[in-house]
């Protein structure tokens, strides 16, 4: 049997669940961490039954920074890889009027991620092993009026991952940034997404697994997103500010 353990943070996310299945299918054991433990236990039993690997669940709150040290220390196995999937889309309109909503978005997507990943990076460096996957977003590549609170939190996270990648490259620890584009999940349930460029969570799971095998730095699930974001980023700010996209 295989003894590799993968830690997934925000493991209740639809993308995380499908990614977990991909790794379990390839004999990885799983440490699943998220807030809603009752749902998480169902995710765990499903994976255990289908793939016959070992799965353990833990309560974890990204925005409860103080708890991160003890959370990581108390894990029964030190992970051989970690995937950070948690995220909070928030409500842009509300975040503009109510700083609480903006703060929650930033605390989850950025500060929470930095807090836990620094702890893990330290441990991986010491053990000279492991890989780190962060699920960021194309929304972080250019701020748009529609979702710039979320977007800026993801921009920060992407920048963080890129710095971390440079730092850990020296100790041969692989850091991968995932920019999934639109994905059909509970986060986007009530939004009309363009079918052609919207991925299923399973596509993202497969792309992440492959990306790890190939040691990719940044992946877009559908390559067309690279092009779309290139165009979006190329528009001069004087024009961009007038646009309604």
């Amino acid at each position: 049997m295989n003894d590799r353990w993968l830690l997934i943070l925000g493991a209740n996310s639809d993308i995380a669940v499908e990614t977990a299945h991909q790794f379990a299918k390839n004999s990885w054991n799983l440490l699943l961490a998220s807030r809603d433990i009752s749902n998480l236990n169902k995710v765990a039993s499903d994976i255990e039954i289908k793939h016959q690997v070992r799965v353990k669940t833990f309560e974890f709150d990204a925005s409860d920074f103080k708890s991160h040290n003890s959370f990581y220390e108390n894990l029964p196995y030190k992970p051989d890889g970690v995937i950070l999937a948690f995220g909070y889309l928030g409500d842009q309109q509300r975040a503009q009027k109510n700083f609480g909503e903006a703060k929650k978005t930033l605390d989850t997507n950025f500060t929470g991620a930095v807090s836990i990943l620094e702890i893990i990076a330290e441990d991986f460096t010491e053990r000279k092993t492991g890989f780190i996957v962060g699920i960021s977003s194309v929304a972080g590549e250019r701020g748009r009026q529609e979702n710039y609170i979320y977007g800026s939190s993801k921009a920060g996270f992407s920048a963080y991952l890129s710095g971390l990648r440079q730092r850990l490259y020296k100790v041969d620890i692989h850091v991968m940034t995932v920019k999934p584009g639109f994905v059909r999940t509970k986060m986007t349930l009530n939004r009309d997404l363009p079918g052609m460029i919207t991925a299923d969570p399973k596509d993202v799971g497969i792309a992440i697994y492959k990306g790890i095998l190939k040691k990719r730095n940044i992946i877009y699930v559908y390559p067309v997103w690279r092009l779309i974001m290139f165009i979006v980023k190329s528009i001069p700010e004087t024009i961009f500010r007038r646009l309604d996209i």
């Binding site: 809603d36 009752s38 749902n39 169902k42 039993s45 499903d46 039954i49 509970k186 349930l189």
Partner: protein, 432 residues
């Protein structure tokens, strides 16, 4: 969102709610609008259609499996195909499976579906030990043959009208290999087809394809397919990929000429009186699943399925009359499927009763709709009934005469207030 059943008729505009968790479910339902659970939409008619539709597919987790007894507890939206993929390689198969594996456990219970082994094993509910049902007041009840019996028997076959099946425990069956030893028996007449069913009734699985275009002495000729799992062999299981029918086919491709040609070809492609072969689970149980969206072959409107069962003593005469009647009106079904059912169970609205069941496919038009009204009458006279999972058109009278426990079902619905929340187009039409 626009939505319809597998028969693509009727199409309605519904509010869609996606199941998220047991805790949030009741809150997510608007109690002022009729709602109905929706599995994988493989029922042909209007049983899973309503103003509001609760998609249960997100409830797709397996929760527990006992390797000794083969008991699996899973959420209501788990597909039978997922159960096969997980357990066939470990030597387990479904006790009862319908002719498509793309149905949910919840949908299989709600229609109390039957397979090719009904004459020996009974309907899907035979494999169900218990399930959790959410009632209209949000409470969740465990139902089994000993606990909340009444709800158990109303829900199996109850077409989603008693509440939401959240999770279920079903018993899988041990098999010794993943292949089936199949025999195909060619019959020359309806009499021979019936005799073949009786002769091979020791075989666990049997189903006949009937050539609905054959007339005179050949009326009711067909190919009886029987089989059992091989005792030795491996458990290799690789579900085949499927081809997609890309767009609604021009429906004129299905006409009397092409139907006759296809049926003759199919019948004659088997030369021998009896032929033996070793086949895979998918080719034996799920031949139609090879074509994803094959319902599009029937054009914009899709196939109208009509499945009925007649009591055994009337089956032969009744089926003969019905086939002859259709032919006299120059109407042919491209596909006729005949099965023998065993004893009826205790569920209030389960379809199977001891006798023969025939499923026919039609392309929808006004002529066929009026002919089917005539068939309804004949079936009522012969003491038979029509399958709710395939129905979008029968009248309340025809339903009541076929399902003698309908009033009992209605009074349970009223008692629990189910009729005030859980309603489908079908339940309204049938005044359930």
């Amino acid at each position: 969102m626009k939505i319809s059943g597998w028969g693509r008729y009727p199409v309605i505009d519904s509010d869609i709610i996606h199941y998220h968790s047991e805790d949030s479910l009741f809150k997510s339902i608007d109690k002022h609008e009729p709602i109905i659970a929706h599995g994988f939409g493989r029922s042909y008619g209007d049983s899973a259609l309503s103003e509001s539709i609760l998609k249960m597919r997100p409830a797709k987790r397996m929760l527990q499996f006992d390797q000794v007894s083969g008991r699996l507890t899973c959420e209501g939206g788990v597909l039978l195909s997922e159960i096969l993929k997980t357990f066939l390689p470990r030597g387990w198969f479904l006790k009862v499976s319908p002719g498509t594996k793309f149905v949910t456990v919840g949908g299989a219970i709600a229609s109390d579906v039957h397979g090719k082994n009904h004459h020996q094993t009974g309907a899907f509910s035979e494999s169900v030990s218990e399930f959790s049902l959410m009632l209209p007041n949000g409470s969740v009840k465990t139902c089994s043959r000993s606990e909340n019996k009444e709800l158990f028997h109303a829900t199996c076959g109850g077409m989603g009208l008693t509440g939401i099946i959240l999770k279920a425990t079903i018993k899988l069956q041990k098999v010794q290999s993943s292949t089936i030893s199949q025999q195909v028996i060619k019959t020359a007449s309806l009499r021979e087809t019936f005799q073949a069913f009786e002769k091979f009734s020791d075989e666990p699985y049997s189903v006949a394809w009937m050539d609905c275009t054959a007339t005179g002495d050949s009326l009711g000729r067909g190919l009886l397919n029987v089989g059992h799992f091989n005792d030795v062999g491996d458990f290799n299981y690789k579900p085949p990929g499927n081809f997609e029918v890309p767009i609604a086919f021009p429906s004129f491709l299905i006409n009397n000429g092409s139907i006759k040609l296809f049926n003759q070809f199919y019948y004659n492609k088997n030369f021998k009186k009896v032929s033996n072969s070793k086949v895979s689970v998918d080719s034996f149980f799920y031949p139609l699943d090879k074509l994803k969206n094959w319902n599009r072959l029937y054009g914009q409107k899709g196939p109208l399925q009509y499945q009925f069962v007649l009591p055994k003593e009337n089956s032969f005469e009744g089926i003969k009359e019905i086939l002859t009647y259709l032919q006299r009106n120059n109407v042919y079904s491209p596909l006729g499927v005949l099965k023998l059912f065993g004893k009826q169970n205790k569920n209030l609205l389960s379809f199977p009763m001891e006798g023969y069941t025939l499923a026919l496919d039609f392309k929808v038009d006004d002529k066929i709709l009026s002919l089917l009204n005539d068939l309804d009458k004949k079936i009522t006279e012969w003491g038979g009934r029509i399958y709710l999972a395939k129905d979008s058109r029968m009248s309340e009278e025809v339903f009541d005469s076929g399902y003698p426990k309908a009033d009992k079902f209605r009074s349970i619905r009223e008692h629990y207030g189910m009729n005030e929340l859980f309603n489908s187009l079908q339940s309204k039409r049938l005044n359930l």
